[in-house]
Amino acid sequence: MCTDCGCGDVNLVPLELQTRILARNDGTAAHNREHLRERGIFTVNLMGSPGSGKTAVLEATARAFADGSKLAAIAGDLATENDAMRLARAGISSRAIKTGQACHLDAEMVHHELHHLDLNGVEYLFIENVGNLVCPAVYDLGQDVNVVALSVTEGEDKPLKYPTMFAKADVVLLTKTDLLPHLNVDLTVIYQALARVMPDPVVIPLASRQPGGVDGWISWLTQRHVGAEMAVS
């Protein structure tokens, strides 16, 4: 309060900050990333709409890696542990995060689950985020790569409607391409939409239910893992 002239004005003092509002989440994400990289684990943040085929991609990934690399997963959903159970049946050691009403996973939730996962010998950790094309894009979890599953049934202009999610993607998995003969979908339109929201779009067409239907994804994933290992050593 100004006491000089009795005017009653308050003294306002500005404090310049310029701090990231999610700095705490980012700090926990950096901790997760360091912990996972030290163990040589390559971590994927798998995002996409509900029903885009995220769990099916991971089931097919487990089949492709059968008798090979050990996989682990953390599956986030508002309710049920169904996805984690599906992944466990596919041979992936899995934990479920039931977020209640939260529309995304954050780094603290992932950190908590990491303490309950047996990571011995694990080479790949898949974090299956809550099905949502908005909120999960905002939170760093400590992943090495952001992967977005986009099914061919979702509409050709989906990337233009959710630019932030696609701009942050390292790769887009175009799922359910085995349904294309039954649909009136022009893949060129999807590719063009992606090129307007992703600076350097990498798109891999998948058919998770078909034999060999995820080969392109497995090849991309193993190359990125090797690249990350070489960067460390």
């Binding site: 309060m1 932030t164 350097d200």
Partner: protein, 112 residues
Amino acid sequence: MHEYSIVQSLVDSVAAAVGSRQASVHEVRVAIGEMAGVDCGLLTTAYEVFRAGTLCEHAALTIDRIPARWHCPRCQMAIASGAFLRCAACNEPAQLASGDEIVLQRIELEVA
């Protein structure tokens, strides 16, 4: 709707900045980028609901919306949002120069 969780982090950040000062918060000013994935209308609503009972209770929220600006990392040429995100001259993928901010810029304190 993650704007409530952003507001929670915002109020925590303000509390950390105020620290042990004997002052009340008069204004909170944030920068939100167009590509940050945060809806300013929802952020304002969430702030109105969440600030009750916190040290931001009497603090106005001002949001500076930062437009997305893409450019070529080689020749610096601006590339419009919504266009193909590749430089027509250099063929380089565009880079986001600004527009992904979720930043607490400044607070104004009322000091007795």
